[in-house]
């Protein structure tokens, strides 16, 4: 994951980074909210309120991104984070391929 930050885009980049983390938390909250709704302990009224609050949050974040012109930057950061997670998980789940990769790079390094 490379976040390209220089003086010019520092503020926008930083904001994009923060917003993308907020988005990740929001998405995780949303999934947990679905679980609670399916769990059956919430009342109709609570489910309604929860849904509305999540929708409001969506709108507010979209608005903020549009205002600051960072929609694309946020998407890039999120894609980068997802790739990173996928990569790390892959190495955890398939240690063999990781080993092969290291050996390959060692061989390349030796040449």
């Amino acid at each position: 994951l490379v976040v390209d930050i220089d003086e010019g885009n520092l503020k926008a980049g930083l904001l994009a980074l923060v917003i993308s983390l907020v988005e990740v938390i929001k998405d995780a909250l949303k999934l947990q909210a679905f679980k609670r709704m399916e769990g059956g302990s919430l009342t109709e009224e609570e489910i309604d309120r929860l849904g509305r609050a999540l929708a409001d949050l969506d709108v507010a974040l979209e608005q903020l991104k549009a205002d600051q012109g960072i929609s694309e930057a946020v998407q890039q950061v999120r894609d980068g984070l997802d790739e990173l997670v996928d990569d790390v998980l892959d190495r955890f789940l398939n240690p063999r391929s990781w080993l092969e990769e290291t050996e390959r790079s060692d061989r390349v390094g030796a040449h």
């Binding site: 769990g39 302990s41 009224e45 997802d82």
Partner: protein, 373 residues
């Protein structure tokens, strides 16, 4: 069956080399969701050390999981019920409560700069202008963050400042009759100011516009409505903050600033005016050597005295040009010769004095409600 028009939106790659694809990448959200579903138990002992000397110890036992998982394991059940119960009983308040014969005139998005306490930031909400008050109200969770009667507003100034994102935006400074000021950012500035002026005119009070102050523009807290003042002297100056709680006396950096009307010390670390003495209250100044302890040792210190309602107060300052400051202040000090007992003998609690316009508590600011969720 997918409707035809939805499939028609997809552009198919040409040729027979077209292979089926499916998005199978694990995302960060997936990871978080899986972790929250299973639950994570953290057990950690941390020692934070600097230069090999342990300074802070952290002993952490934490369990983090989605609430549904928590409940499945019988954890936090009481909390869950209590919080939901509290929320359901709460009156759903979407508008601020108005007084009898009070009507709302205007409503818009806005934010107030809250310079006090540990939470110094913009507090967003809705600005309500009524025929009697200006209110900042937040709907979720409902709280009147700030309110002020219109008759306590004296003047306003509009200043363009750069937001941290790089956007330039206009901020509205309201000067209050108490001498304090507040800083607002509102959605429709002109509407608010014109309606406010109209309402106040109806009450027989003029709302005066002041030119935006050029003075000390980088001092956010000093950007008080001082356009009619001129800076006579300004320099970096350390001030002794008398004992705070378990801490001994400490020295804080800041700016000392003298205008024809007052002497102001602006604290760099707290970013606010912490000393504001009208010139007529200055009683005298002297420079004496004092042992500041630690690595600094003995240094010249400016002991500044002023009168408030309790009597004589002393402020200790140090920095460059102390003799010039002494002369300037002595030139302004009126009335009798000030006694110059060493402030250390008097006890330094006397040095607090009048602490900043923000601390004069002209605003009925309610404490933020913190709900543990």
């Amino acid at each position: 069956v997918l409707p035809r028009e939805r499939i028609a939106g997809l552009v198919l790659p040409p040729g027979p080399a077209y292979l089926p694809t499916e998005f199978k990448q694990a995302t960060l959200v997936d990871l978080l969701d899986r972790a929250l579903d299973k639950g994570v138990v953290i057990s950690a002992d941390l020692v934070v050390s600097l230069a090999g000397v342990p300074l802070i110890g952290v002993n952490l036992r934490a369990a983090v999981a989605g609430m549904e998982t928590m409940l499945r394991y019988g954890l936090m059940r009481d909390w869950d019920e209590r919080i939901r119960d509290w929320e359901s009983k709460r009156v759903d308040q979407r508008e601020p409560a108005l007084l009898a014969n009070e009507t709302a005139v205007l409503r818009m998005h806005g934010a107030l700069w809250a310079p006090r306490g540990i939470y110094r930031s913009w507090r967003p909400g809705h600005i309500y202008l009524t025929n009697r008050r200006l209110i900042l109200f937040r709907a979720q969770p409902a709280e009147t963050i700030w309110e002020i009667p219109l008759h306590s507003i004296r003047c306003y100034a509009v200043r363009t400042e750069t937001h941290f994102t790089g956007h330039e935006r206009d901020l509205v400074y309201l000067g209050l009759r108490t001498g304090a000021h507040v800083c607002l950012h509102v959605e429709k500035r002109d509407d608010l100011l014109s309606s406010m002026a109209a309402e106040m005119e109806g009450m027989g009070i003029p709302l005066v516009e002041q030119a935006a102050p050029a003075f000390a523009a980088h001092h956010h807290g000093l950007a008080a409505l001082m356009s009619d003042e001129t800076v006579k002297a300004e320099s970096k100056m350390w001030r002794q903050i008398p004992q705070l709680g378990i801490l001994g006396d400490t020295w804080r950096p800041g700016m000392l600033c003298l205008t024809e009307r007052r002497l102001v010390w602006w604290c760099e670390t707290d970013r606010q005016v912490q000393l504001d003495v009208p010139v007529g209250r200055l009683a005298g100044a002297d420079v004496e050597a004092m042992d500041l302890g630690g690595l600094v040792g003995e240094r010249p210190v400016l002991t500044l005295q002023y009168r408030n309602s309790h009597g004589l107060e002393t402020v200790l300052l140090t920095g460059d040009g102390l003799w010039e400051w002494k002369q300037a202040i002595e030139g302004l000090a009126q009335g009798t010769e000030a006694p110059r007992a060493r402030p250390l003998e008097q006890g330094s609690h006397a040095a607090i004095g009048r602490v900043g316009p923000q601390h004069a508590a002209p605003l009925q600011q309610q404490p933020a409600v913190v709900v543990a969720r």
